[in-house]
């Protein structure tokens, strides 16, 4: 018998899932910030161990995010909650959680491949990473609003689009500068690869936002 107090209380289980969803969003948001700070550490050329710490932290957050997502999915299905928007919520949680996984992948690739980012490009790389993280954070805010304040979703999604466009501009500018520089071609290609990876984070965030806009229309009462 599952006689926990939270299960006996009226809406006890609902409250538990609410907390879990909030925790998942916290994980994604924290992961994105960790990614930004880790990338900063990498750009500033700190010792290798600190970057690895950041990788571990992001990975832990991703593992926790995955656990929460699975648990939420299980609850939503077994307790048959939110039947009309269950599918949308599950997709939203998976998509947002994917952003955290993507951030981890990118940062892991940086620490493994160690791209040689010269001082000339550091500023733009930092800006690119920071803007991509902003787009992720806006997506997280929009997702939170989807659960509590449906009218605010649109505002946050506007910011996601704005940051994604910013990212595109920065990435284009950065790639032009990289290929206009005296670097060897292999270095240029390597840097371009990471520019694209960082830009992809913002693109994916925008894709999540686009789906979220549709879920919001469906949920609009």
């Amino acid at each position: 018998m599952n006689l926990k107090v939270e299960n006996l209380a009226l809406f006890g289980k609902t409250k538990k899932i609410e907390i879990m969803i909030d925790s998942l969003m916290d994980c994604i948001s924290n992961g994105a910030m960790k990614f930004e700070s880790g990338f900063d550490i990498y750009l500033n050329g700190a010792e290798e161990g600190r970057c690895d710490d950041s990788v571990h932290q992001i990975r832990d957050l991703e593992v926790e995010g995955n656990r929460l997502r699975r648990e939420i999915e299980g609850h939503l299905y077994t307790d048959m909650l939110i039947p009309d928007s269950r599918g949308d919520v599950l997709s939203l949680l998976e998509d947002t959680n994917y952003l955290l996984g993507l951030a981890e992948d990118i940062f892991l690739a940086i620490t493994v491949e160690k791209p040689a980012i010269g001082d000339t490009f550091k500023g733009d790389f930092k800006l690119l990473a920071s803007t991509a993280v902003k787009s992720v954070e806006s997506t997280v805010l929009a997702s939170r609003a989807f659960f509590r304040n449906i009218t605010a979703v649109r505002d946050h999604l506007g910011k996601v689009s704005f940051h994604e466009e910013e990212c595109d501009q920065i990435a284009t500018r950065l790639k032009r500068n990289i290929f206009a520089s005296d670097l060897k071609l292999e270095n240029k290609l390597h840097l371009r690869y990471f520019v694209d990876k960082l830009d992809r984070l913002a693109d994916e965030a925008e894709d999540v936002g686009d789906w979220l806009a549709i879920y919001t229309i469906k949920r609009s009462l």
Binding site: F11, T14, E18, L81, R148, L221
Partner: protein
């Protein structure tokens, strides 16, 4: 044998006595067997007739459960099995607890004066509702019953109350419109509130689910309480049950047992066949969100409450507030109206007009089919199975009747040609009146018919003992006892005598404030009339 003859005499006497005893015993035995046979035959007949009530109950459950749980099930907020369990439990409680309390009012079928006729009317209504349920269309069971009664009226030559017909027409139009208006208004208000309150999606889901369960449970309770009269009311006087007690713990009255049986039939209908209509109501016309589903249930309940509650009207009048006009409402039509209202509020693009057209045509055809089926079935029942499907109602404009009519301000001089002419059948009597008085208004016609109807009553002391003490007050019972042994030809004569003997039998002035009192008194009077009615005093097997 001795010569004195004594033994012989004795033996003769004894023989005769024995013979006599044997004959008497044999007669008694024969009579007992006859009586037993009659009782068994009657009980079997009653049980056969009872099946039509159960069929009607089953149809009602299969169709009307959609009004209370259709949107909840179709929006997947409540599983069908859960909804069916809640609905069945609550409607059984409603039927047994509140239904039995209102049993004296009977249902619409209580107007039919012969059990086989009532059986066929119930059967026809049930058959019609079953067809509509099979087609997945939500229809009004009451309208099917009224349709069947119209069929009975046509067959028996009784007069159809034109207001019943007008009510049906009015309901087709007014009810969906009111449902739509209330549905749209409540939906708009709920959306505004929810957007401001910023409730978490999951919490909102929980509240909506709870709201749907509570609204559904109350709806099911009132469904059971209000409709059990139609399903089982007609069998109150002829059921084979007796009171049942478990120690001193509790007693289930015979009527409660009868209603329990009816409610179980409704419950079986809910479990076995209601899902299809539920899906039509909750998803077929317009896919609804859970909040929309809740709004529909609430809007239909509010429409039903505001536009049909005499208690609310009384409260408003007694508080000096303006009243809301009471109009006939049907819950199926209010629910469909509320769904349309929400659909129109959202721009009307999601509404499936074809489904709506099917539903509307179902509404129109339901009373028509029920009346035709009833008419044909009555013909078969009467001519093939030799059953008395109606007792003839006789009318007479006797001296006392004319006096009574004169008192109520009707010019009786014109009615003299039909004075003391006993006419069989309402339509014949009306035609005879219309011949001499062609420009008769509906109200006057009703007054004359009411006054002239022969309904023989005898204030039998034995029957007085059967009066339920809780239903009539002590003073009212004393009023009836004061008339013990007297007979009356018309109900109004008994009413005059009762109102003369006790103030508690006197109707109050006709106004909105006194409406609930007069309505209750009418129900009590109807109960007394039925109890004291000299049955078969004009029954003729047609």
């Amino acid at each position: 044998m001795s010569a004195t003859g004594w033994p012989s005499t004795q033996s003769n006497v004894l023989f005769e006595h024995e013979l006599g005893s044997c004959v008497t015993l044999s007669r008694v035995r024969d009579k007992t067997f006859d009586k037993l046979r009659e009782t068994i035959a009657m009980e079997i007949t009653v049980l056969i007739f009872l099946t039509s009530g159960l069929f009607l109950g089953w149809s009602l459950g299969a169709n009307d459960a959609a009004n209370v749980f259709g949107t909840a099930v179709a929006s997947r907020m409540i599983q069908f099995t859960t909804a069916a369990i809640i609905c069945t439990v609550c409607l059984i409680l409603g039927a047994v607890i509140s239904g039995a309390g209102a049993a004296h009012g009977l249902g619409a079928l209580g107007k039919l004066n012969a059990l086989p006729g009532a059986f066929m009317a119930a059967f026809s209504a049930a058959l019609t509702v079953y067809w509509m349920t099979k087609a997945g269309l939500p229809v009004s069971t009451t309208q099917a019953i009224v349709g069947a009664i119209i069929g009975w009226n046509l067959f028996s030559g009784s007069i159809t109350d034109t207001t019943a017909l007008t009510k049906i027409f009015a309901t087709w139009v007014a009810c969906p419109i009111l449902g739509a208006i209330f549905g749209a208004l409540i939906y708009k208000a709920v959306v505004l509130i929810l957007n401001r309150s910023r409730i978490h999606l999951l919490r909102l889901d929980g509240y909506t689910r709870l709201g749907l369960i509570i609204a559904g449970a109350f709806g099911s309770y009132s469904l059971g309480a209000n409709n059990i009269g139609n399903v089982m009311g007609v069998f109150i006087s002829s059921h084979p049950f007796s009171d049942f007690s478990i120690g001193d713990l509790f007693t289930i009255s015979a009527i409660q047992q009868l209603f329990l049986l009816g409610a179980i039939a409704i419950g079986v209908g809910v479990f076995t066949y209601s899902k299809r209509v539920m899906m039509t109501v909750g998803d077929g016309i317009l896919p609804l969100t859970p909040v929309g589903a809740w709004v529909v249930v609430i809007a239909h309940s509010i429409v039903l409450f505001l536009f049909s509650s005499i208690e609310l009207e009384h409260f408003l009048v007694s508080s000096g507030l303006p009243t809301i006009p009471l109009i006939p409402v049907s819950s199926s039509q209010a629910v469909v109206g509320a769904v349309i209202g929400i659909g129109l509020l959202k721009g009307g693009k999601g509404i499936k007009w074809r489904v709506l057209g099917n539903i509307a045509s179902g509404w129109i055809t339901t009373p028509i089919i029920a009346s035709v089926v009833c008419f044909v079935m009555l013909f078969i029942l009467q001519n093939v199975f030799n059953q008395v499907v109606y007792h003839e109602v006789r009318y007479v404009l006797s001296g006392p009747v004319l006096e009574q009519l004169e008192k109520s301000g009707i010019a009786v001089a014109e009615l003299e040609p039909v004075r003391d002419r006993e006419i069989v059948g309402g339509t014949h009597f009306r035609d005879a009146i219309l011949e001499i008085k062609p420009k008769l208004t509906g109200e006057l016609e009703e007054k004359i018919l009411d006054a002239a109807e022969i309904y023989r009553l005898r204030v039998d002391p034995g029957k007085i003992k059967e009066i339920e003490a809780g239903y009539l007050s002590d003073e009212q019972i004393r009023g009836v006892q004061a008339l013990s042994g007297l007979t009356y030809d018309h109900t109004w004569q008994l009413y005059d005598a009762l109102s003369g003997s006790s103030m508690e039998w006197k109707k109050r002035e006709k106004n909105k404030l006194n409406k609930p009192f007069n309505k209750h008194l009418d129900e009590q009077l109807k109960y007394v009339y039925e109890l004291l009615h000299l049955e078969n005093s004009g029954a003729i097997n047609q």
